[in-house]
Symmetry: C2
Subunit: 492 residues, 2 copies
């Protein structure tokens, strides 16, 4: 092995950190709670971003860019939203440094350059955007506005984890404005569907679509829809949210429009976002003790080719053979790297690309060329096979699709096996402590019960599934009547 990895069984949390750092996705930085996204991790994010961006544009959205800063007076305009984020706001108070008169070569904040009004670094952009929309919207003809923004945001978290919870993270945030409530709700669920499709189809992570309870709702939303995924340790992870904001922000920023009946009306709003947190979900859904497992459709690198040779002469024969294969793979739109560097031995390279989760590895030596074959290794199952060079590029193309499907199926089976019904608090706790996963239980619909269950078990209601089966039952905690089970879990 090139780099020692902690196993999941030994220390799941350390295993995760090892994958992120030794897999060269990201690194800690000199800034508390902020990470450096390394080239391999950023290439993954670019692939995710490009797919999402294409899907946003296909559903009629356009991109724009709004300021990083939110003046405090705007930030506090929508009270619930402000209250929800106030405790994690980085605040700019000064706009200049000056040389320290007492310490040569050092700088201090210039007290004379204090801002009249503090600027909050956006933890989310509803405030600055709705303040802007006010001047964009006069009549129903100006609606809908279907805008998305790719940006960095800052939420000052006390306990941070690479990708999962960082003070600064990258994300997209859609902010739409509509003439009717119904249209806004349709937008909210449409974007939830886009997220679900992306996460399942590209990231190969199965998700449950649902709606949040009042406790877990986005601050300032009327309803928060979400997609919930299950990690290998049985904890849930919220992979994306789509909010129906009602007229809350329109009222806070006085955004009215003249409707078709010539009457002034407040605008209806949605917002929706996914972030670099998805990379954390990807890692924890698929990877194993040998390293990352990248789903082919968003893998930064889909195929790596490693030559097995002794001496320059045999190397150049292999180089020639590989050149043609690379051309064919690229013609099929497959990303490929030929690692014929002399810095490391094949065994080291094998372990390195396994750690990085490259879906398909091709190895070949002189004898393989004589036999017109290569050795193919797939990362997901670690199966190796000897495959003919004839039609190899097409074979690999199909194999990549097969791997994509297999990774998804494996995660789906795991997820489905880990939804368990509990009909008493005893069962509830037993499932959480011994098996983890989702617990499907009846709930009386009150925040108080949810709070108490959370206190006792650290589990929260992840969502009320959209496609829920209705059945009469009794709340697992209070015994009060309930008409459906909701999904509880301990969560990231």
């Amino acid at each position: 092995m090139s780099k020692e990895l902690t196993s999941r069984a030994a220390d799941y949390s350390q295993w995760y950190n090892d994958l992120v750092i030794k897999g060269e996705l990201a690194d800690y930085s000199a800034v508390r709670g902020c990470m450096v996204i390394k080239p391999y991790g950023y290439a993954l994010w670019e692939n995710m971003r490009d797919q999402l961006d294409r899907m946003f544009k296909e559903t009629g959205h356009v991109n724009a860019y709004f300021p990083l800063f939110v003046p405090k007076s705007l930030f506090e305009a929508e009270e619930k939203n402000a209250e929800g984020f106030a405790k994690e706001c980085a605040v700019v108070t000064h706009y200049r440094l000056k040389t320290d008169p007492n310490n040569k070569g050092k700088l201090i904040v210039d007290p004379e350059a204090k801002l009249e009004e503090e600027l909050v670094i956006r933890p989310t952009s509803e405030a600055i955007i709705w303040n802007t929309y006010k001047s964009w919207i006069q009549s129903y003809r100006d609606l809908p506005i279907l805008v998305n923004q790719w940006a960095n945001v800052v939420r000052w978290e006390m306990r941070t984890r690479l990708f999962l919870r960082t003070a600064e993270f990258l994300w997209q945030e859609g902010h739409t404005a509509h003439a009717t409530k119904q249209e806004a709700i349709e937008e909210t669920t449409k974007m939830l569907d886009v997220y679900a499709h992306f996460v399942e189809h590209y990231m190969a992570v199965p998700v449950i679509k649902g709606v949040k309870t009042a406790n877990e709702r986005f601050a300032g939303a009327e309803d928060t829809y979400c997609i919930e995924a299950l990690m290998q340790d049985g904890k849930a992870l919220q992979a994306g949210t789509s909010h129906f904001l009602g007229q809350n922000f329109a009222k806070a920023f006085d955004v009215q429009f003249l409707n078709k009946e010539n009457k002034q009306e407040y605008v209806w709003a949605t917002s929706w976002g996914v972030s670099t947190r998805l990379i954390g979900a990807l890692i924890m859904a698929h990877s194993d003790d040998q390293g990352l497992i990248m789903p082919p459709r968003i893998a930064p690198l889909q195929v790596v080719i490693v030559p097995i040779y002794k001496g320059e002469e045999s190397k150049s024969i292999i180089d020639n053979k590989v050149e043609a294969l690379i051309k064919e793979l690229k013609a099929l739109g497959i990303s490929v790297k030929y690692d014929n560097s002399d810095n490391a031995r094949p065994g080291w390279k094998f372990a390195e690309y396994e750690l990085k989760g490259v879906p398909v590895r091709v190895a070949l030596g002189l004898r393989d060329i004589e036999n017109n074959v290569v050795e193919l290794a797939r990362r997901d199952t670690k199966e190796k096979s000897s495959v003919s060079m004839d039609g190899l590029a097409d074979y690999i193309k199909n194999l990549l699709e097969e791997i994509q499907e297999n990774i998804f199926q494996k995660a789906l089976n795991f997820r489905n096996e880990n939804i368990r019904e509990a009909n008493s608090m005893e069962e509830f706790v037993s499932i959480l402590d011994n098996q983890a996963g989702f617990v499907a239980a009846h709930w009386d619909g009150t925040s108080e019960t949810e709070d108490k269950i959370k206190e006792q078990t650290k589990a929260t209601i992840r969502c009320i599934p959209l496609q829920n089966k209705l059945e009469n039952g009794a709340c697992v905690f209070s015994g009060k009547p309930s008409t459906q089970r909701v999904l509880f879990a301990r969560a990231y």
Copy 2:
């Protein structure tokens, strides 16, 4: 006309603002000095970014992402760099807001949440990046590092202008690390060439490649290379810079590597960047009193089709005809919009797309369909012509290339006509005051002379052109001997 525009002759500066705002590229925001980039402006930036990103990757670079924040102690490590940016730094001092006990519903900065060390919002990322590179680089095998970042940066400017000078702006910043001085210098000029190619070939703005004098150099650089463009009002605009940083940052952050001779050596560095400022250059290089003129290769929209009809029946006949044309244009990779909305009359639409600078407008009515023709209008020359529908898509494809070339030639001719030699301060001032443009003059090579000329004329040395003709002469200010002319101008 749909919207009143100020003419260049009446008020050049207002004309510029009118184009930005009425052309819907950007808007002022609630945050002092920060702008909102509107969807049409952002689509332009996306096209520019995508081309540049492709060129960076073709030259071996990869993207990464580093923190928005720079701890003050890191920021001040490279003293010249810190000194250069200290006066325009936004500083985060607190990480929490709390409810104002004296003012219900309002928030105040929580004095208990004061950071131990202030965080500077990156005005540029050398400090945070070189602090990171320290852990990435041990041996010559780790070099070169060829990393680029797309990000937002903040420079607290006192006098701001949309796109040209804003407190927050979007840019890319390349940061490379090399084992030898020569390799770093080669990287610096290679990226200058990439910028020049992009700006000339895609933005159709001719540039002069040169090197900055010590006065105009990037704080912390050994040499700053630049591309300089000329705007229609005769003022110059720095369109991109590429810096050879020597070992300054390696020394400030103690980044050493074991070279091939097994000796510790400081790493050599470059950095290079272009920003949303380029959009300002694009506007001022090409546009006219009717609005923007977008170069086809990066235009957000290349072709607009406007139907001329009376009544639903004739509209649907035109709709059908246009559908086929749109398919053909899209198959050729041409972006096209069919504006058959009933909200506005054709004349209004014509003016609107002229204002937005769409390169080609197609108009057609029932009689045109009978005659198998359309009316084509090109934005650059405003020429209209009747063109056969047979082979129309190919005709438009060629026309777009012709427009691209024509826009560039026009700007090139203007630029070349506006480089004038001055052999005395009298001539120098006269050219600046009466004709503007670049003044090619001998200079004695001292910062003192450069300062004095700037004081007297507001002109700075834009660059010492790379392809300069050597000739003996006397400094236009001091009379001291000089071996080449340098380019002065008043600049944005």
